[in-house]
C-alpha cells in the first residue's frame, strides 16, 4: 500500500474542454455558411469543400509521417483549415487548384512552422492569397448564384468600378447581400448564415467579440468617412455586408494561433484588420482586402502580444 500512488503537480482536476471539441465547434459553426454556399452556387461547391478538406487532412497525415512526428489528424484542426479554405474560394475554382491550396495551407504554412498553434499566418488565408497571386484568373472567376452559374462580378468589384463611373450593372440590394444571393466565394456571401455560426461560437465561448466587432466597426468607420464622393458619405453598410468581411472578422481573424491573447491586443488586432481592409478596398488594385489585411495583422501578432502584457492584479491601482 502506498507505493502505487501517483504524484503530480496540482491542480488534479481538469475541465472537459479539449482541442478537438473546439475544432468540432468551429466546424459546426461553419456549416450554415457552407450550406448557404451549396444552396446558392450548386453542388459543385460541395465538391470543392470535399476536395480541400480531403487535401488538408491527407497533407497533414503525410507531413507528420514524413517528419516522423505524432499523428495529429484526429484533433480536427486540418478539417477546419480545409473547410475555411473552401469557403474562401470561388465556386468555379478548378478542383486541382483547390487541392493545391490545401497542400499549401497545411504543409507550407502550418506544419513547416511547427504544426498546430505555431503557424504565424492563418493557413487557409495564406493559401488563398498564394493561390490568388498564382492563378489570378481562376481565383477571380466569379459566378452569380442560381442554377445557371453565369459569370458575374462580386458586389465589391461593382462598387469599385462604380467609383470610377463605369456603372453598367445595378448593385445588389442589402437584402440580397444579407442572405447571400450575390457573387462571391463559396462561404462568404451569406451574412445571415455566417452570423448564425458566429453566434454559436460566441455561445460556446470559442471566440470572444473583441476582434470581430473592432474589425467590422473600423472598416465601417473608415469606409463611411473616406468611401464616398465627399467625406462622411461612404456606403459603409454595403462594405459591411459584402465581400469576406463577416467571414473574415468572425472566423479568420479570430484564429487562435494568429491572433493576440489579451483583450487589449484583440481590439488592436481588430482595428488594424479593419483599417487595412478599408484602405485596400478603397485605394488598392484589389477590390477585396480582408485576406491581405488579416495576414498582415497576423504577422504583427507577436509584437502586439509583447506590448500588451497586462499588469498583475493590484498592479494598476490600489482601489477599484
Amino acid at each position: 500500500m502506498g507505493n502505487n500512488l501517483l504524484v503530480s503537480s496540482s491542480p488534479h482536476l481538469r475541465s472537459g474542454d479539449s482541442t478537438r471539441r473546439i475544432m468540432m465547434d468551429v466546424v459546426i459553426a461553419l456549416l450554415p455558411a457552407a450550406g448557404a454556399g451549396v444552396y446558392f452556387f450548386g453542388v459543385r461547391s460541395a465538391l470543392v469543400i470535399a476536395v480541400t478538406i480531403l487535401s488538408c487532412v491527407v497533407s497533414e497525415y503525410l507531413a507528420r509521417k514524413v517528419m516522423k512526428r505524432e499523428q495529429t489528424i484526429l484533433d480536427i484542426s486540418a478539417v477546419v483549415t480545409g473547410l475555411l479554405l473552401a469557403l474562401n474560394l470561388p465556386p468555379a475554382i478548378p478542383f486541382w487548384i483547390a487541392a493545391v491550396g490545401g497542400f499549401i495551407a497545411i504543409v507550407i504554412v502550418k506544419q513547416m512552422f511547427g504544426g498546430l498553434g505555431q503557424n504565424f499566418m492563418n493557413p487557409a488565408l495564406a493559401a488563398r492569397v498564394i493561390l490568388l497571386v498564382s492563378w489570378a484568373q481562376q481565383m477571380t472567376n466569379w459566378v452569380s448564384p442560381g442554377p445557371d452559374a453565369v459569370s458575374s462580378a462580386t458586389p465589391l468589384a461593382l462598387i469599385k468600378k462604380g467609383q470610377e463611373a463605369v456603372v453598367g450593372v445595378a448593385l445588389p440590394s442589402y437584402l440580397d447581400l444579407f442572405i447571400g444571393k450575390v457573387g462571391g466565394s463559396i462561404g462568404e456571401t451569406s451574412v445571415l448564415a455566417l452570423l448564425i455560426g458566429a453566434a454559436y461560437l460566441v455561445y460556446r465561448k470559442v471566440i470572444t467579440l473583441e476582434i470581430p466587432l473592432a474589425f467590422i466597426c473600423a472598416t465601417a468607420v473608415f469606409t463611411w468617412v473616406f468611401g464616398g464622393d465627399s467625406l462622411f458619405s461612404g456606403n459603409f453598410m454595403y462594405h459591411i455586408l459584402s465581400g469576406g468581411l463577416v467571414l473574415g472578422a468572425f472566423f479568420m481573424a479570430t484564429d487562435y494561433s494568429t491572433s493576440p491573447v489579451t483583450k487589449k491586443g484583440k481590439i488592436i488586432m481588430g482595428i488594424g484588420c479593419g483599417l487595412l481592409t478599408a484602405i485596400i478596398r478603397l485605394y488598392a488594385n484589389y477590390p477585396e482586402g480582408v485576406s491581405f489585411a488579416i495576414i498582415l495583422m497576423n504577422i504583427a501578432v507577436p509584437l502586439i502580444d509583447r506590448y500588451t502584457v497586462p499588469k498583475s492584479f493590484g498592479g494598476e491601482k490600489a482601489v477599484a
Binding site: M1, H12, G117, Y256, F313, G314, G315, A320
Partner: protein, 454 residues
C-alpha cells in the same frame, strides 16, 4: 491609508451584497458530498508523527527527545524566530523517535514520533491565557500554536501584529471555501457559528477593528442564513454572499470581492488595511481564550472516489493518513492518488505514512479514472488561461519561457505574482501543465537570483 466608501456603507447595512467580482477564475464543480456529514471524532491512534514544520516560516527545534514522556498540549517544538509557531503534542505518551521523516510536501522534515498511552492526560501548562493588552494577547496567540487554518499556515500572531504604520480597519473572515470537495469550513459555520462570532468579538476588542465581513460563497445558503441570524444584533459584522467561483477564497480575490481593495503585487493584506482569517482560525481563538487548549486537532474532510465512507472527521494532529482512511471505512478500491488539500491546490502524497498537519483541511483519495489526467498536447493559443488567470498573467507565455529557461522573459511576464490557484491548468483545452511550469519558472528565478544572476 485608503478609505473605501463601500465599506463605510456596508458597515451600516447588516447584510451587504457583493459589489465587486474578481476577473477570471474557473467554474469548477463543487462536489461538496460531505456538506451534511456532521463532524465525527476520531479516537487516539496507536502513534502520532508530528513534523516540526507546520507553518510558513522557520521550522521548530524539537524540545523533547526520545524516551521523554509527553502530555496533551505540551510544547514539543519551538523556535526563537519571529515567523514561526510552536508545536504541541496532541496526545499523551512516550516519544519513540525524533528524526527526519517524510513530510506531506514531499521532503524530509524533523519529526517527533510519539507512542500514545490512550490516557490523554492534559499538560499542566494548559490553562486559559491571561492578557490585558494587545501585545500580551498576540503573545498568547503565539503560544497557542495557531496558524492560518485555511491551508497556507501563516502564523496568526504575525498577522495580528502588523507594523504600526499600517492602520487596520477591516477584518475579513474567509468562509468562501471555494475548493471542490472540502466542507471543513462549512461544518464549522453550521456546527459552531457562535464560536465564530465569539472569536470575532475578541479580535474587535483587541485590534480596535470597526468593520468585519464574513465572506461566504453562495453555494452555502444554510451557513449564510445561520451567520446572518447570529450576527443580526451586531452592527459591525456583515455577512457577504460571494459568487461561487474559484478561487473566490484566495486572499487577494476575497479582499477585492468583499472590500473593493486590491492588494498590490508583493504586498500583504495589511498594506490595504485588512486582516484575513479563516473561519476555523477565528473560532479556535474563542476556544483557546476559553480553555487554553492549544491547536492539537483539526476538522478534515475525507472524501474522494476511493473512500468507503466520506466524512468530516475531527483528527488529532500527527495522525497518519493510513489511520484516517481506515477510520473512514478504508478504501472501496485501490487508491491511485491521495491528496492533502483540495483537488485544485492540494499536494499529492507519496505515502500514507505522512500525517495530518495544522493546516490540513482535506484528505482525498481517488481511483485511477480520476487520478490519471489527460495527456498534454500543443498549446493552441486559445487564450482561455489568460481569461481564467485571476492575477492577470499570461500563463501560456510563462509556460513557453519556463520550458526554454528564459529568465529575463519570465520576469517580464510577472511570473512571481502567480498564486498557483490552478485555474489556468483547469480550463486549458490542450491540458498543458501550466501551474507545474509556473512552479518550475519560480524555482528557476530563485536559483538565478541565488547565483547572483540578473
Amino acid at each position: 491609508m485608503i478609505l473605501c466608501t463601500t465599506i463605510q456603507l456596508s458597515g451600516v447595512m447588516h447584510m451587504s451584497f457583493l459589489k465587486n467580482m474578481f476577473k477570471g477564475g474557473a467554474a469548477v464543480p463543487h462536489r461538496k458530498n460531505t456538506e451534511s456529514c456532521e463532524t465525527i471524532k476520531m479516537g487516539v491512534p496507536q502513534k502520532v508523527v508530528i513534523p516540526m514544520l507546520q507553518h510558513i516560516g522557520a521550522p521548530c527545534e524539537p524540545t523533547v527527545k526520545k524516551g521523554d514522556t509527553v502530555k496533551v498540549g505540551q510544547i514539543i517544538g519551538n523556535s526563537d524566530k519571529y515567523i514561526s509557531s510552536p508545536i504541541h503534542s496532541s496526545v499523551s505518551g512516550v516519544v519513540t523517535d525524533v528524526a527526519p521523516m517524510l513530510y506531506p510536501g514531499g521532503v524530509y522534515v524533523t519529526t517527533v514520533e510519539i507512542k500514545t498511552d490512550g490516557v490523554q492526560e492534559v499538560h499542566e501548562s494548559v490553562k486559559p491565557p491571561v492578557y490585558s493588552n494587545h501585545s500580551e494577547f498576540v503573545n498568547a496567540i503565539r503560544q497557542s500554536g495557531l496558524v492560518g487554518l485555511g491551508g497556507a499556515g501563516f502564523p496568526t500572531h504575525v498577522k495580528l501584529s502588523p507594523p504600526s504604520d499600517k492602520k487596520i480597519d477591516c477584518l475579513v473572515i474567509n468562509a468562501a471555501e471555494c475548493e471542490p470537495y472540502i466542507t471543513a469550513d462549512y461544518r464549522e459555520m453550521v456546527e459552531n457559528p457562535s464560536g465564530i462570532v465569539d472569536g470575532i468579538k475578541i479580535l474587535i476588542d483587541m485590534l480596535g477593528i470597526k468593520n468585519v465581513f464574513i465572506g461566504v460563497e453562495d453555494n452555502k445558503p444554510e451557513a449564510i442564513k445561520l451567520l446572518k441570524d447570529i450576527t443580526e444584533a451586531n452592527n459591525s459584522i456583515s455577512v457577504v454572499k460571494l459568487k461561487s467561483r474559484y478561487p473566490q477564497g484566495a486572499e487577494k480575490m476575497l479582499i477585492y470581492s468583499v472590500t473593493g481593495r486590491k492588494v498590490p503585487p508583493g504586498k500583504l493584506p495589511s498594506d490595504v488595511g485588512v486582516i484575513v482569517m479563516n473561519v476555523n482560525s477565528i473560532s479556535f481563538i474563542a476556544q483557546y481564550v476559553k480553555n487554553g487548549m492549544p491547536l492539537i486537532k483539526k476538522r478534515v474532510t475525507v472524501d474522494g472516489s476511493a473512500v468507503q465512507r466520506p466524512s468530516n472527521v475531527e483528527i488529532l494532529i500527527g495522525t497518519q493518513l493510513a489511520d484516517v482512511f481506515e477510520f473512514c471505512g478504508g478504501f472501496k478500491c485501490e487508491p491511485r492518488k491521495v491528496l492533502m488539500g483540495g483537488p485544485m491546490m492540494g499536494i499529492a502524497q507519496y505515502s500514507l505514512q505522512t500525517s495530518v498537519l495544522k493546516q490540513t483541511n482535506a484528505l482525498l483519495a481517488f481511483d485511477s479514472t480520476e487520478a490519471e489526467l489527460p495527456p498534454e498536447s500543443p498549446c493552441i493559443r486559445c487564450g482561455k488561461c489568460v481569461e481564467a488567470c485571476p492575477m492577470n498573467l499570461l500563463p501560456l507565455y510563462i509556460n513557453l519561457n519556463a520550458l526554454k529557461e528564459n529568465h529575463e522573459e519570465l520576469k517580464k511576464y510577472n511570473t512571481n505574482d502567480c498564486i498557483e490557484c490552478g485555474s489556468c491548468s483547469y480550463v486549458c483545452p490542450a491540458k498543458r501543465h501550466l501551474v507545474q511550469s509556473m512552479r518550475l519558472a519560480k524555482a528557476q528565478l530563485r536559483q538565478a537570483a541565488a547565483k547572483g544572476g540578473k
